[in-house]
């Protein structure tokens, strides 16, 4: 049971870390209103993104957003203190249990679409602060739609089996060999911001694969790239400062956040303190990765076809030599999305276009136009294949079938 004790100890310590303060500064920081603290922690955890029906312009934190999972649609809960439909009757302990164990007030299991496998690492103090903040919200009466899940997943008890297999109620373990900043970064990434919910590969049952930690994951036809920043990592050629600007301002030399990551930056990370963003960056930059596998080279004819498509359609913005215009048009010679194992994100950007997320720091509009009307599946596959083969980090060819599937998905929407 040393694991449990560890967890408890770590939890207390991490509470301080999560706040971004050293234990010495604790006394001073505690006078800070707990509600304000909770608001900040809820922002860092991006609770609002899932618990607001953004598509339909719903009230903040009133829930009802349909989350697409590979298994069906799961609707988020109302977190406002409404007696009948929200958290009005919840106690602090019940709230902590929901985050820490994925159990609702009535004792039923929550689906892991609610990222409690990450929030379980959150300290009790931090959870209590978030609870205190949520109590201050205007109560909103909002019934949540029925989940659209197939049997047997529609039975909440099925989650019990899932938890048995994949859920570790493991607290946050401080690594004493690492700096305080590093530990704080890790706490933010793992316990609050749950970056791994998207950036870590999942097994067939939707659970994080430990050995795929932050090595890239697929969600709803997006590929969230490898964000390990050490040797061979997806962000190996990013400076810590680039990560800070990407998360804080929505622009970096390498790329900008788009639809999915744009939501995270727009709702959450742009509101975080620079020292917390730097802690995240320092932590990510410490994660090395295995060397890339040798990539298959496309035929010369295919390479040249892709190059011709690129020159005629893309060079105007991304430059003939693919070096782009940093901060405006992503350099494609080193793009992590282009050379990702799973090229979904690059393909969908080319078909559907993309917009760089606006932020308070950088409110400008930049968008890439869609090419679905103009390029065939084969042509998109050829241009991506060319970019992958010509990149600093070579990656193998892409088939027209992959583009066809993505096109069908985008047209369905």
């Amino acid at each position: 049971m040393s694991r449990l004790r560890n967890a408890l100890l770590a939890g207390t310590f991490a509470g301080a870390l999560g706040l971004g303060i050293a234990p010495a500064a604790l006394a001073q920081e505690l006078s800070f209103s707990q509600v304000e603290r909770g608001r900040y922690l809820a922002t860092a955890s991006d609770c609002v993104a899932c618990h607001t029906d953004i598509e339909e312009g719903g009230k903040r934190y009133a829930g009802g957003r349909g989350l697409e999972t590979p298994f069906g649609t799961i609707y988020s809960s109302n977190l406002t203190p409404d007696e009948a439909t929200g958290l009005g009757r919840w106690s602090r302990d019940e709230f902590y249990r929901a985050l820490n164990e994925g159990i609702s007030r009535d004792g039923s299991h929550l689906y892991p679409a609610m990222p409690y496998p990450h929030f379980t690492k959150m300290s009790r103090e931090d959870a209590d602060a978030i609870f205190a903040y949520l109590r201050t919200l205007e109560p909103v009466t909002a019934e949540i739609p029925e989940n659209a899940l197939p049997f047997p997943l529609s039975i909440r008890m099925s989650v019990a089996g899932w938890k048995l297999l994949f859920f570790d109620k493991e607290g946050f373990a401080v690594d004493p060999d690492q700096s305080e900043e590093w530990n704080r970064g890790r706490y933010l990434v793992d316990a609050l911001a749950h970056c791994g919910a998207c950036h870590t590969g999942k097994n067939l049952l939707g659970a994080d694969k430990e050995d795929e930690y932050l090595r890239g994951g697929t969600l709803d036809n997006w590929y969230a790239p490898n964000i390990r920043g050490g040797v061979n990592g997806g962000l190996a050629d990013w400076e810590a400062e680039d990560i800070v600007r990407f998360l804080g301002e929505g622009r970096s030399r390498h790329t900008a956040p788009m639809q999915r990551m744009g939501e995270v930056v727009g709702l959450s990370t742009q509101h975080l303190r620079d020292e917390d963003l730097m802690a995240i960056a320092v932590y990510l930059k410490s994660l090395d990765d295995a060397p890339r596998e040798e990539a298959e080279t496309p035929s010369q004819a295919r390479f040249e076809t892709g190059e011709a498509i690129y020159f005629d359609n893309c060079a105007a913005c991304h430059s003939a030599d693919r070096s782009g215009v940093p901060y405006i048009f992503a350099p494609l010679d080193s793009s992590n999305k282009v050379t990702a194992e799973d090229p979904s994100t690059a393909i969908r950007i080319i078909l559907g276009g993309a917009r760089a997320q606006q932020t308070e720091a950088v409110p400008s509009q930049i968008a890439m136009p869609p090419f679905a009307w103009k390029l065939t599946d084969q042509q998109v596959a050829d241009v991506v294949t060319y970019l992958r083969a010509a990149s600093d980090r070579k990656a193998g060819p892409v088939s027209a079938g992959e583009v066809e599937d993505m096109r069908a998905h985008l047209q369905e929407k």
Binding site: R60, L267, S364
Partner: protein, 244 residues
């Protein structure tokens, strides 16, 4: 935004023009961005002429093709309206909103107008073609012994000159207006993007050395008048976009 140079800002402003229409409104308060709404897969797709639609009858098509072939002849100097398939361009235009004068003011009164006042006919272009072509063939049969398309090149040139110079008159429409319209449409069909049916294989563009629908010449800024050695490209691409 200290990292933006002035040149980058300029380019950024240009890019603002590419902002796309959106179907979904996302409230600014969610931090998904205020300003222009945006959604994927939307954009201004160019109008593809009128697809496979046709307006001309067989005889009308033969006559128009023959007229075009004289206006931009195929000779040792280069390809002409025939290679560019200009007649298909005009046929598709007549079947579409242009042929119907759909976005012109077409109520009376219809005055003569001067040469600088543009199209003055009470007939939409498609109807002008139909009425004029019928009279043209009648004229050729009675005066030259066959429909326009069947005449020798010399006879065809003489008839076209007659239309242009007002020596031949039609009863229901102005022969001169008809001539001017066909000439204008022929030039358009020779140089318009192949997307619209003419300028087949970009022969018109190749002929004059136009590199097509490109919009960035940064790599050639220092060229000072030298030819740009680029294959022309259409909105639909070019042969180089397909693997051999």
């Amino acid at each position: 935004m200290t990292h933006y140079t002035r040149r980058q800002t300029l380019r950024l402003m240009l890019m603002a023009g590419t902002a796309l229409a959106a179907s979904r409104v996302l409230a600014a308060e969610y931090g998904r961005g205020a300003g222009m709404p945006w959604s994927p897969m939307s954009g201004e797709v160019p109008y593809y002429g009128t697809g496979a639609d046709r307006f001309f009858s067989r005889d009308e098509r033969l006559a128009v093709a023959a007229i075009c072939a004289r206006l931009i002849p195929s000779d040792e100097d280069g390809p002409g309206a025939t290679e560019a398939d200009v007649v298909t361009f005009i046929d598709r235009q007549m079947a579409g909103f242009y042929g119907r004068a759909q976005h012109w003011y077409m109520q009376g009164p219809f005055a003569e107008g001067t040469s600088t006042q543009g199209y003055q006919s009470e007939h939409p272009p498609a109807m002008l073609y139909r009425l004029a072509l019928a009279e043209l063939d009648d004229y050729c049969r009675s005066q030259r012994g066959g429909a326009f398309a069947e005449l020798s090149e010399e006879d065809q040139d003489a008839v076209l000159t007659g239309l242009d110079e007002g020596e031949i008159a039609f009863e229901r429409v102005s022969a001169k207006t008809f001539f001017d319209l066909v000439l204008e449409n022929t030039v358009e069909g020779f140089f318009a993007d192949p997307l619209y049916g003419g300028n087949r294989d970009m022969v018109g563009w190749r002929y004059v050395g136009f590199p097509g629908t490109r919009y960035d010449y940064r790599d050639f800024v220092g060229h000072n008048g030298a030819a740009i050695p680029l294959e022309p490209v259409s909105l639909q691409g070019r042969p180089g976009w397909s693997q051999p």
